[in-house]
């Protein structure tokens, strides 16, 4: 990104930036434009959000009320039956899938945070040879689509005899080039004078990292954490391969597919209950974590 301006903090959380009230044309659109805006947005919302509504509401409906044209989402009876049934059925056990998903999301998040922070710190703050080549090595790994190397990785995991261990779900993903890039962008914005002063005062690298650098780059850390957890939790290709021979290796994502396939179209409401369970953490993260995501990413990638 060839940018020359000083790095100012990424875009402030949109919409909190209200300039002092001054009635200008740019600030408030005309009435007709406003009406048109709302009509347009509501129309799009109906189209794009109906699937979300159907997912969440559908899981509470009796099968007969969901599977009709159109699905009767409003009125009628709601119950937790599908959730209980989804949880209790033994064809595709959801509890192990749930713990596997938590394990995968949490560990990938932790792995990304630790490996990225350490490597980025070394690249930015530690005086050592080959810093640039190492950084470019990390950048090069971003260019490799995972699907291009999934075959050797699967064979490798099998040859290690790990295909029945939960570790095989996370092991290939603990380090990530993009994470290093993100943290390096954040660390680079750190005032050089401060770094210098700290070193002169006899503050070692470890103390500098933990007491000064990490606390002050919290937005980037949060962004990376949110992104990594979403990546891990929503990962599909790899768990699909790993769990193909072993049901207990399912994550929620592969379990949902198995549920869908297993029902042969006779238990759609139950499938939607399953989908809703997979959505709980991610919906929360998207709603409450989005401003961090935007800030972290924009600071790193756009500016």
């Amino acid at each position: 990104m060839s940018q020359t301006t000083t790095t100012r903090p990424a875009a402030p959380a949109p919409a909190d930036r209200r300039p002092p009230a001054r009635p200008r044309t740019v600030d408030r659109p005309r009435r007709a434009v406003g009406v048109f805006t709302y009509v347009w947005l509501v129309l799009l919302a109906v189209v794009l959000l109906f699937p979300v509504l159907m997912t969440v509401v559908g899981g509470f409906l009796p099968e007969g009320q969901l599977v009709r044209q159109p699905p009767a989402l409003v009125g009628g009876e709601y119950s937790l039956d599908n959730y209980l049934a989804a949880w209790q059925q033994t064809v595709v056990p959801l509890l192990p899938a749930f713990t596997n998903s938590l394990f995968v999301g949490g560990l990938i998040m932790l792995g990304h945070l630790v490996t990225s922070c350490l490597a980025a710190y070394a690249i930015v703050f530690v005086r050592m040879p080959l810093r640039k080549p190492i950084f470019w090595l990390f950048m090069a790994t971003i260019m490799v689509p995972y699907e291009a190397i999934v075959v050797p990785n699967a064979l490798f995991i099998r040859s290690m005899g790990l295909e029945d261990s939960q570790w095989s779900l996370v092991l290939p993903f603990l380090a990530n080039g993009f994470g290093v890039f993100l943290m390096r962008q954040a660390f680079r914005q750190f005032p050089e004078e401060l770094h210098h002063a700290a070193l002169i005062d006899g503050c070692g690298h470890l103390r500098f990292l933990f007491t000064i650098v990490l606390p002050s780059t919290r937005p980037a850390l949060t962004a990376l954490a949110v992104w990594s957890f979403l990546q891990g939790w929503n990962m599909y290709f790899w768990p699909l391969i790993i769990s193909s021979s072993n049901n207990s290796m399912n994550t929620l994502q592969t379990a949902v597919f198995a549920l869908k396939n297993n029902g042969n179209g006779t238990q759609q409401a139950l499938v939607l209950a399953g989908v809703t369970i997979t959505l709980i953490p991610t919906l929360l993260l998207v709603i409450f974590g989005q401003r961090w995501l935007v800030r972290g990413f924009m600071a790193g990638a756009v500016k």
């Binding site: 990104m1 060839s2 020359t4 301006t5 990424a10 875009a11 919409a15 740019v26 659109p29 805006t37 709302y38 947005l41 799009l44 959000l49 699937p51 979300v52 599977v67 159109p70 490996t115 350490l118 490597a119 070394a122 690249i123 703050f125 530690v126 005086r127 050592m128 040879p129 640039k132 190492i134 090595l137 790994t141 260019m143 689509p145 699907e147 291009a148 190397i149 075959v151 050797p152 990785n153 064979l155 993903f173 750190f190 050089e192 004078e193 770094h195 002169i200 599909y236 391969i241 193909s244 994502q253 949902v256 597919f257 869908k260 989908v275 991610t282 989005q290 935007v294 756009v302 500016k303």
Partner: protein, 313 residues
Amino acid sequence: MNTVEKSPVGGLPAGPPRRRRRLSPREVALGVLFCVPAVAGLATFVIFPLFQAIFLSTRGTDINGNPTRSVGTKNFAALFTPEFGTVLMHTLLFTLFVVAVGLVLPLAIAVPLSQRLPGMRVFRTLFTLPFAYSASAASVVWLLMLDPSMSPVNWVLKLVGVDAPGWTTEAPWPLITVAWATVWVVAGFNLLVLSAGLTSIDTEVLEAARIDGATGFRHFFSVVLPMISPNVFFVVVTTTLTALQALGQVQVMTDGGPNGSTTTLVFSIFHNAFEYGNNDYGLASAQGLVLLIVGIVLAAVQFGVIERRVHYR
């Protein structure tokens, strides 16, 4: 990419204090130690497998599903067939659709959202919700959305007197259906990125443009769009990668069918190596190398050609 590569220590204008001029072995050791976890992880699971993929691409598979002796260029010869040409064509169409719609749709939401009207924040949060869906969750839900026995989409179409096609069975719809499920998810994220760009535009600039008489589409294309070009570029690059790597949508919704009409490059890799005990690791690895090359070429084009037109502030 980064022309402003300067190390905080070395680049200090005042000149570093004398005692820090030479590398200290302790510091170097610490740096190496810090790099080890990331380098080890990436070397084991990204860089080494890359070479292994090249090796595997020349191998066949024995009856137990293990790689065999070299089969020469057989797997590469399979890449120069009309069948693989169609696979590449599907991948291209799929990617084009996802990138085009995945850019225009969130723009069509983000621009009205950027106005100062009450409730816009709520709308924005709502529109990003689909981003919470994984590939399999989105695919399962869209399968139900388009299932003839309950499809609300078909119901609306019937209201306006249109007969719904077989979304996952009748060409050309399956590829579009699968691409749409992908767009639906990425649009949520792209909206966030584009909105962030729009809210950071300087109001003064907009005002100046308006005073100069730029309105409507002209205003959008010659003032607003250039101002958010870094965000648009980011969206194009990341969406291209997402589309190239989309597997779940295809596998869940159509399983590459009907008649291979939704078989994209990534699905083909999955299908040859892992589906139904095919175990053709050699062919899958060769196709993986094609994916790698396609990705690098696209990135080179995007960064080499398009980024020149991006206006960074």
